[in-house]
Symmetry: C2
Subunit: 114 residues, 2 copies
């Protein structure tokens, strides 16, 4: 196992996921204040590769710099507010899921054949 | 913004990502000790929906319970070793990326036209 490499890859995936969540949040906000722009950003995002978060933002810089700056701010804010809870949540969810899978397996193994 | 909902969704994504990393780790280990089983698990995973981590594990329970138990153990181990570093890594990567995007935008805006 290479925990350092896995941690780096996980951080990358999470950064892109928070970019996606920031874009979604901005679309939600705009749908209240500026529906036309909300629709524009929504279409723009569907036609872009948001999985590559930084590439998406670089492209948006050319196409709408105000939205880029807004997404950067929301993403930073999300990271500060969301990330601290994540390790404990994921750890406890995984422990719970493992108990559940092992219990389920035990049930299968001890089932009397019909 | 709904940070609680976003935190829950983020935790879910991360749990599935760690399942994928655990499967990858087990395939790596098996390729040293039992190449035939490594190939089997690799094919099995390509033909399954690993994006739904828990569904993948439930299916594997029927098809190879020893591998299921091994993946559960590796995943729990990964979670314990990797997650604690993630918030700081992602926060600092996002701050750095934002500085970079803003610098890049400033360069574009202050470029004298050709």
């Amino acid at each position: 196992m290479y925990p350092k490499k896995i941690a780096q890859d996980t951080a990358k995936v999470l950064q892109s996921y928070l970019t996606y969540q920031a874009v979604k949040t901005v679309i939600d906000q705009l749908s209240e204040t500026n529906p036309t722009l909300a629709i524009w950003l929504s279409h723009y995002t569907s036609n872009s590769n948001i999985q590559d978060g930084e590439g998406y933002l670089e492209k948006l810089m050319v196409d709408n710099k105000e939205l880029l700056l807004r997404i950067l701010t929301v993403r930073e804010h999300l990271a500060q507010n969301v990330l601290e809870f994540i390790p404990e949540m994921v750890n406890s969810n995984i422990v719970k899921a493992n108990v559940e899978h092992r219990r389920h397996l035990l049930e299968r193994l001890t089932q009397s054949p019909p």
